[in-house]
Amino acid sequence: MSNPTKVRPSEVRSNNPDTGTALLRVRNLRTEFKVGQDSVKAVNDVSFDVNPGDVLGIVGESGSGKSVTARSIMRMVRAPGEIVGGSVEFNGEDLLLLPEREMRRRRGSGVAMVFQDPQAALNPVMTIGAQIIEALTLHGTDKRSARRRAVELLDQVGIPDAAVKVDQYPHQFSGGMRQRVVIAIALANEPTLLIADEPTTALDVTIQAQILRLLLKLRTELGLAIAIITHDMGVVAEMCSKVAVMYGGRVVEHGTVEQVLRRPRHPYTAALLAAMPRLDDERLGQPLPAIPGSPPDPSALPPGCAFASRCRFVEDGCRHDIPSLLQIGGEGQLSACFVAQRGVSIDVEPAPDQVPAASAEESRPVETVPALEVQKLRVDVGSRRRGLLHRNPPVYAVDSVSLAVHAGETLGLVGESGCGKSTLSRSIVGITPVAGGSVEVDGHDVTSMGDEQLARVRSSVQYVFQDPYASLNPRRTVRQSLAEALSLRGLRGAELEAESHALMDRVGLRREYLDRYPHAFSGGQRQRIGIARALARRPKVLILDEPVSALDMSIQAQIINLLEELQRELGLGYLFIAHDLSVVRHLSDRVAVMYLGRIVETGTAADVYGHPQHPYTVALLSSSPTPTVEERTREQIVLQGDLPSPANPPSGCRFRTRCPIGPLVHPERTICAEQDPELLPRRNTQTAACHFAGELI
């Protein structure tokens, strides 16, 4: 995939007249946002090249300037943002100097862009055909041939029945299909460079794998160069030939993917790679080497290196001067770090200064009564809305799910969005009504959620929400939020005060922060507050609904470590819900895989990840991108199609419409359509609901 011989000359910053073969040359690009008297330097002296056939990954966290860089190249920075310097040479001409009319002609036909949210990128009141035709006719194609070309394009991006689908509206497409349509529109005028801004972030892993495959296929077929902006090192490893790592508005490291992932030369890249949990993690039960602090606020960048305050290698000079991007290591690998430039090796793993953590294999005292047990739970999300006379048929988003969480243990629950994992967790805490089955807390049946039962649930099961921005009332201080929870335990006055201090200490926040409002905190800090609030009721079980997926990469490890520490000290049981398989692997003792309202596989984390029995689990693991170059060669199992609707689930096995070993591939396997497979014991600790379990590994 990569092509090391094509790597650009090392000195990217030089104004070498030999322009080489670069399709896009970005030099010293600066974009600022004027806020009152100040200007926020969102993109600060960024330079890189994209050669024909290259796939460049621009990685960074929120606020690193990666999206503004992309918009600056397209000259689509909106006021108060302004490009204040540098050049963007595309095919040898500087886009920044073109008049707006000329620039408009380049957009789409020269450089095209794919945005993150396919929902927002398509006009809901126009058929997709009309939208592609619009893109074509704007650049001078006549109407009749435009329609023919539209069908052709849809076909090219892998939309089945393109001739029919061309007259449909965006809402008739699934998320993955919409993103294909957006790509088709981008390709309409045969651009030579495609900029994709987080093209798969809004999608599930199995769909993400489809879209990434499509992009790579288009690159080979059409000879496209692609610049992909992402926060996910895994996507970079899977897709890209070169990578530029951005931090605080600057490129801090640049090189081929092999160079950067094998031997990062900037402490930020190195620390980030070390802090990410991995599918093949051997550090189970140990804290991750988290990066302290949080990403810098682009409006208050420090005078020196932006990473200095979080860096293990920091020296005095780092705080005053900004290091420039210079070649280190192999040809084409550049790093903006004084320490690395002096020849100090930036090792990936920091020295182990952490406490030797309790081994994950350490046998926990097995309690006979689980702290939380769910049996044959069904949740109906369809028939709630009723008209005057008719009642909608039930739609079971959760259909006969059984699971148990013991104290001190983590059960990981994985599955794509729409599989019912959030509905399940919300019905356990009584937010969503239960249609059948039972929920038991500490051995007491609480299914009917009467007053007394609710009180029991609430004092033993608490919930941590995904979005730390939405789960705190913006008008209440931390003190008020915690007091609300603590007063329910009957605490008043000095006792309450002492307890809120203890909670703040517990989650690693300073006591002085108690009187602040949520807007004064970063995402990671807010999530700590959310955890403190849940702990205020002294629960035995925490339901963690994607607690790290809304956080920046460098913050995730901090929260994961905090959760592990709390579990160790307080003996909490976790029901950990996530779509990120590597995070689940790191935290979980046992794993349950959910598909369309059913659990399809359970077992210890080691067994499920090591020897998945259900083909869906295999596909999930295979689709999940890992940030290692070694994994690039592995055979990927990419699932076809989308998650069916729970309102009308397929007969027999619910997975059969996408199954790589089911009737799609083996038409003789009619049993899959006729018989609903039961969740039966298979290998070691595992159970799987598949007629042909264990066939696909």
């Binding site: 009584g430 995904q466 979005d467 009332n473 929870a485």
Partner: protein, 289 residues
């Protein structure tokens, strides 16, 4: 130096202020808010001090009538030779007393009714249908019906504004309630076991207040128009008591003989409406910042 101290003292107090209140107050640091509030302040002071400013009362008849504007009588004299400026300021008293009594009450009652859905879904739906009926009547028609029942006067005007204003406040409160219910911090409070009514007062009402406060300041203007409208057709405050609407009603009758009759009371009415409109604008900007 003192400036800095004053500012830091100011900071200290604002920090202690409830953020909701602080946001509303920030509206009055904007140009529109300042102008609107000043204008309203002048009108309110004039209205409150009317007996001091015009100790003779609003009913002093003179020998001449329907004169134009003059230095002695800036707004002129009416058909009975009464000073129109005096009558306009006394009229303003009536108008302000009406809207300051009726509009806040209307917003509060409307909001409470709008939140009825929190008690039971059916009750909430029923209240909304009641609001549909009220909205079905134009404000004036509603007023005429009320006058027919209880007779013309301050009370009828008060009730008209009260009832006509409720549905919008109720709708806004219900919309906010519905939207807030699925917010994660409301779910979080429910999972913690916070009682329903506390969730409502702590998390939902403060977040519903924004639109209702802005709506309330718009209704102040509408209240003035309802008063004027009903008085113009003779169903408002009864003579000899003046209100802005009554004065306009009388002025219309003499529009051929004394065309300047309408200017004074009309000006006061416009100033009042402009003051409230500016305040509504500033509040709206402040809460949607």
């Amino acid at each position: 130096m003192t400036n800095i101290e004053a500012r830091s003292a100011d900071l200290r107090t604002t920090r202690r202020l409830n953020p909701t209140v602080a946001r509303y107050l920030s509206a009055f640091r904007r140009p529109r808010g300042i102008v609107g509030l000043t204008l309203l302040g002048i009108l309110v002071v004039a209205a409150v001090l009317a007996p001091v400013l015009f100790p003779g009362g609003y009913d002093n008849q003179g020998s001449t009538s329907l004169t134009g504007m003059s230095a002695a009588h800036p707004f002129g004299l009416d058909e009975f030779g009464r000073d129109l400026l005096t009558r306009s300021v006394y009229g303003l008293r009536i108008d302000l007393s009406l809207i300051f009594a009726a509009v806040p009450l209307s917003m509060a009652v409307g909001m409470l009714l709008g939140l009825a859905g929190a008690i039971s879904e059916r009750l909430g739906a029923a209240v909304q249908r009641l609001f549909d009926v009220i909205i079905g009547f134009p404000g004036l028609l509603l007023g005429i019906c009320l006058v027919a029942i209880i007779g013309p006067g301050w009370l009828a005007l008060f009730l008209t504004i009260l009832i006509a204003g409720m549905p919008t406040a109720g709708r806004l409160a219900r919309a906010a309630w519905l939207a807030q219910q699925s917010r994660e911090y409301v779910l979080a409070a429910r999972v913690l076991g916070v009682p329903k009514w506390k969730v409502l007062t702590r998390h939902i009402v403060p977040n519903a207040m924004d639109s209702i406060v802005v709506n309330g300041s718009i209704w102040m203007v509408i209240g003035v128009y309802i008063e004027a409208g009903l008085s113009i057709v003779g169903l408002g405050v009864q003579p000899p008591t003046p209100s802005l609407g009554v004065l306009l009603n009388n002025g219309l009758r003499f529009v051929t003989q004394a065309p300047t009759y309408l200017i004074g009371p009309g000006l006061i009415l416009v100033l009042l409406a402009v003051a409230f409109s500016l305040i509504a604008d500033a509040l709206n900007e402040a809460v949607n910042r």
